[in-house]
């Protein structure tokens, strides 16, 4: 076993463990943190595939931004998980059954026979000066330029939708007009009074 496979199995094991913890831990902050670990190890696996741009972007976007916001929300919410667990034991058998069926199906179909090492050989390692980033750019801006632009449309639309659903009229929020603040001068607020100094009367 060479270093690469050792690293792969290490990352993969941590990834599977962390993903398991995400769905099983009770505390939602812990779940979010396990998810961070899962993202990190995924990035590690991607690095082994020479997809360094994607790996770093995964960390940057998901770990650096998305999960921070996630934690932000999760920490502020006081989630009472007791009602969520209600009926857990009652539905457990059927849940396990369906889960098992799906796992068996997927193993049969996405098994090593079709997507194994022979069917999907490892990519040929590229020379050190090969730029993964450049290739990715070529794909995004030439081959998939239309879906790429559409993805931008989706993001714009998401912003619009979010604002439509959350923005309340100004009178309902504690809004401070910045222009007015900037216009304020010290002379508006403080009056300097000149007066002769007084002597203490004894």
């Amino acid at each position: 076993m060479n270093t690469e496979s050792v690293l792969f199995y290490l990352f993969a094991a941590i990834l599977v463990f962390a993903s398991g913890m995400v769905v099983t831990v009770k505390n939602s902050v812990y779940a979010a943190l396990w998810l961070v670990l899962a993202f990190f190890t995924t990035a590690g696996v991607w690095l082994l595939l020479e997809a360094e741009f994607l790996a770093i972007t995964l960390v940057l976007v998901y770990v650096g931004a998305v999960m921070v916001l996630f934690l932000f929300v999760v920490m502020m919410l006081d989630i009472d998980i007791a009602p969520l667990k209600e009926g857990f034991t009652r539905y457990l058998p059927i849940g396990l059954l369906i889960g098992a069926v799906i796992v068996i199906e997927i193993v049969i179909i996405v098994g090593p026979e079709r997507f194994g090492l022979e069917a999907m050989p490892a990519p040929i390692p590229h020379a050190a000066d090969y730029s993964n980033t450049k290739e990715l750019g070529r794909l995004l801006y030439i081959d998939y330029v239309y879906p790429f632009e559409l993805a931008a449309v989706i993001l714009v639309l998401a912003i619009i939708a979010a604002i439509v659903l959350t923005l309340r009229p100004k009178r309902w929020s504690k809004f401070v007009a910045v222009e007015k603040q900037l216009e304020a001068k010290s002379s508006d607020r403080v009056r300097v009074v000149k007066m002769p100094s007084e002597k203490k009367k004894h």
Binding site: L139, Y144, L150, V153, V156
Partner: protein, 480 residues
């Protein structure tokens, strides 16, 4: 494979580019409008649809054109479906204006979101790659989720939006999973490459089959066909009627296009497999939709269940797997959206400030209040039930013919039997309008524009029913 793109390749995308630019322009213009001149956004929305129709008509190709590395296709079917989407959307704008004003929902965002949804539909209609189909679907769905939730203080609307969003996201997930399987099996996202790959296979791959199953589940979810129909009644009922009107019309056309692109163009050679799945879905939809609709007292819910039944017919047309069947399904989709437009239009017509005419009883004695619109509703109901000479009859006839020609006589028999069962609830509306006394005698408030368009809508249904040849020819040609 990276071939640089020339600017001329963007020419077939002109309608999409135009619609997107207009959405952004309306968004910006609306910022500077006060509530008194909000009608400018409305006018711009109508203008967008009109000009987009002109552009689409001018750029209508004779043969199908695939550009941008096989992600975009423009063909006859795409152009025609897009034209109907514009038409339906423009009618939605006209119908909903007064309803929106009465509920203080008359905002620029309504138009922006609808135009974005239209853009999503256009993308789906002209998709030539699984990726583009998915992108279009998401653009459309995202806009629709927001539209359903727009009435923020209504608990019903919020609940409907929540259900729609959660189930819609689940369906998207299914669809994506299926697509990833197909990609794994064929190694391409391009529908043409996929279909070539599939045609070259001696024995169909299990991965491909699993992918197909997931794709069909996703599609059935989006169309609202049984057994993935749970969201339809709640969303139709909970959303503001103006939004229901939109959801009930144009997206159906896009849904039809999506099914055609994915199943027929991409996986056409697997027809042997998907036919069976679609038969089950179609039969269940027709049965369940028609039977449950009988029990409804809310007309929006009733229409929701009738939609499910109609979607069953649409799928029945496609499952025949012949040119005839595809054009019949297209004809059915277009006819259904026009009828549905009229049906929801009638609810909007009778609604007014603080009052939703969404109970069946609200239609009582409509003949006394307005004989003309009672007649319009009569046409719509008769057409939906599939009684000659209205449009719905020919639509059903064409689909049934295609199904019988494909050798699935038992499907046709079930469809006919349950259409007759379904006729009951449509005729009940007619009975309420003509033979019952009105509880509510307030005069109808709707403006002249809405009355005119609704009348045109009703008459079109009748006229197309008497002379269905033109539309049928268009649909047949589009499938060539």
């Amino acid at each position: 494979m990276s071939v640089p793109i020339s600017v001329s390749e963007f020419a077939p995308l002109l309608p999409e580019i135009f619609v997107l630019s207009m959405a952004c322009i309306i968004l910006l213009v609306d910022l500077y409008l006060t509530d008194d001149n909000r009608y400018i956004s409305y006018a711009l929305g109508l203008l967008t649809m009109g000009l987009a129709a002109v552009i689409t008509f001018v750029t209508m190709p004779v043969e199908s054109v695939v550009v941008l590395n096989g992600t975009f296709v423009n063909d006859q079917m795409a152009a025609i479906l897009k034209l109907f989407v514009y038409l339906l959307t423009a009618a939605v704008f006209v119908y909903s204006r007064e309803y929106l004003i009465a509920r203080s929902l008359f905002k620029g965002e309504f138009y922006v979101l609808i135009i974005f949804a239209v853009l999503g539909m256009m993308v789906m209609i002209s998709a030539h790659s699984m990726l583009t189909i998915y992108m279009g679907l998401e653009i459309m769905s995202l806009a629709l989720y927001a539209l359903v939730a727009m009435q923020r203080d209504s608990i019903q609307a919020t609940e409907a939006a929540m259900k729609y969003f959660v189930l819609g996201a689940l369906a998207s997930g299914m669809l994506l999973y299926g697509m990833s399987m197909i990609y794994g099996a064929t190694g391409s996202l391009d529908l043409k490459v996929i279909s070539e790959h599939v045609a070259g296979l001696e024995e169909k791959d299990l991965v491909l089959l699993l992918g197909l199953v997931f794709v069909i589940v996703g599609l059935a979810f989006k169309l609202g066909a049984v057994p993935f129909h749970m969201w339809v009644p709640d969303v139709y009922h909970g959303a503001p009627t103006a939004v229901t009107l939109f959801i009930g019309t144009a997206p159906k056309i896009a849904g039809f296009a999506m099914v055609m692109r994915l199943l027929v163009e991409g996986l056409g050679d697997m027809q042997f497999y998907w036919q069976d799945y679609l038969v089950v879905i179609a039969v269940l939809s027709i049965v369940l939709g028609n039977v449950i609709a009988i029990a409804q007292t809310n007309i929006k819910r009733m229409f929701a269940y009738s939609t499910i039944a109609h979607m069953g017919f649409l799928i029945a047309g496609i499952l025949s797997g012949t040119q005839e069947g595809y054009s019949a399904a297209m004809f059915y989709t277009i006819s259904y959206s026009i009828m549905s437009l009229g049906g929801f239009g009638m609810i909007l017509l009778l609604s007014r400030s603080g009052f939703e005419a969404d109970k069946l009883d609200d239609f009582k004695g409509l003949n006394d209040r307005s004989p003309w619109f009672a007649f319009m509703m009569l046409i719509i109901m008769v057409s939906m039930a599939g009684v000659p000479p209205a449009l719905g009859f020919y639509a059903k006839l064409a689909v049934l013919q295609a199904v019988i020609n494909a050798g699935l006589i038992w499907v046709a028999i079930i469809a006919v039997v349950f259409s007759i069962v379904g006729a009951f609830y449509y005729l009940r509306v007619i009975k309420l309008m003509y033979f019952d006394k009105a509880d509510d005698t307030t005069p109808i408030e709707a403006g002249r524009d809405m009355r005119a368009v609704l009348s045109v809508n009703g008459i079109t249904i009748l006229a197309l029913g008497i002379f269905p040849g033109g539309l049928l020819t268009i649909c047949v040609n589009a499938m060539l």
